[in-house]
Symmetry: C2
Subunit: 252 residues, 2 copies
């Protein structure tokens, strides 16, 4: 069995509003799902406050040990938007005004009071960066080498991801299949471990729930190999049914 | 102005299901909000996979630089539940069966098929730990020094937090007040920065949105000092109204 190269990405979520509990993050799951479609694994996430030292530490650690680094948040026009400046510090480059970003903002604000200093902040990038333009939003994301600087607002991030689709090199997507079962996971823990062991290249995750007065669990099998995935899922379902468990292919 | 000591906590979210995008995390916001009521600031969060080395790295880095460390996930009975073992590695202690946890599981499973090896896994703790018992769930959380090991399922974590309420030393909670305004944040960026500068001990976060065809933003003022908070919120609201903006006390 050859070992496929696994491409990884890390995500730094920047924002006091996430750490205070005020805002429920949505970007981790949307970026994770999108990355997997590109054949890239989300390997780790950090949530850091709006503070330069915290951003620099996370960015420099994570970009060194992953193929890609994404950030979300802190790229607006106000004083608490410090992501571009912090990443420039992390990279040891200057912050410059990107000419095309400036032209875009100029056009947009021509009939809206003109390009003020605050608005011009949104055209600032770490030197050497290019823009991640997108169909719908005037505000572009920013790419600098393997770093991708995205918006905090989830639907704007979604548009930036959309414009990057198919453009990043990746490997095989991690495929998954789910077996649902009305069983306490503790009753079949050995069966799960044995099934995983018998299927190299597959991992089985067990996610219990308590619903309608009954316990159950969804077992998620993951693999990059379609045949191995199917064989492992089939084996698990058959073993559960052979024990007389109420199990189905798919989530319950 | 005296400086109050700020008590901080970090959170390590453990779980492949979060990094794959399958499961939307709910524990970051619920733990953040609960911590703030205890006078403790959530300072940083990491999401790591179900892998010992990743858990050990995060736990040892974050427990050293925060007053408290919380983890969520990976404390069930199946093979993918490795949190207790990984934290024991991080602490350099053995994994032992906690006698009271064993007794609780014994009683619970007496009429449910008995205490199997898999079920006994849930009584294992890093040596020296105590249990975080709770009203509703048979499965306790685990405390070891300044480390708090919680469930992954949010409503079980909620019960564990409830049983810890009022028991951790903290400082002053971070208070907040919100001013909502139908304005593009770029138009009043200077006003925000000036208002923050004029009110030491207060931070202002700007959270824009696009709704019903209009742009707006909520400005969240944060401070540990009630008088400073009120003065800053009042000053911001007055300044917006004086400019003829459509602003209100409270979120829009």
């Amino acid at each position: 069995m050859t070992t496929d190269r696994i491409w990884t990405a890390a995500l730094v979520v920047i924002g006091d509003e996430i750490l205070s509990g005020r805002t429920q993050d949505r970007n981790v799951s949307q970026i994770a799902l999108w990355l997997n479609l590109q054949g890239i694994r989300l390997a780790e996430v950090r949530v850091v406050p709006d503070r330069t030292d915290a951003i620099v530490e996370a960015v420099n650690m994570l970009r060194a040990r992953n193929d890609y680094l994404f950030t979300t948040g802190g790229i607006g026009p106000t004083h608490d938007d410090i992501t571009v400046d912090a990443i420039a510090v992390a990279l040891g480059v200057a912050v410059v005004v990107h000419p095309r970003a400036r032209a875009m903002l100029d056009a947009y604000y021509k009939t809206r009071g003109g390009l003020t200093e605050a608005r011009l902040r949104m055209a600032r990038v770490p030197e050497g960066a290019e823009l991640i333009e997108n169909r719908m939003s005037g505000a572009p994301g920013i790419r600098h080498g393997n770093i991708f600087i995205m918006a905090g607002v989830p639907h704007i991030t979604a548009m930036m991801l959309d414009s990057l689709s198919g453009k990043l090199e990746g490997g095989k997507p991690l495929l998954s299949t789910t077996i649902g079962c009305w069983v306490a996971e503790s009753e079949i823990a050995d069966l799960l471990a044995d099934t995983e062991r018998a299927h190299p290249g597959c991992q089985i995750g067990s996610y219990p729930f308590f619903r309608e007065g009954r316990v159950g669990a969804n077992f998620v099998v993951r693999s990059t190999r379609p045949e191995a995935l199917r064989a492992c899922g089939d084996a698990l379902l058959s073993a559960l049914l052979a024990e007389g468990r109420e199990a189905v292919a798919g989530e319950v």
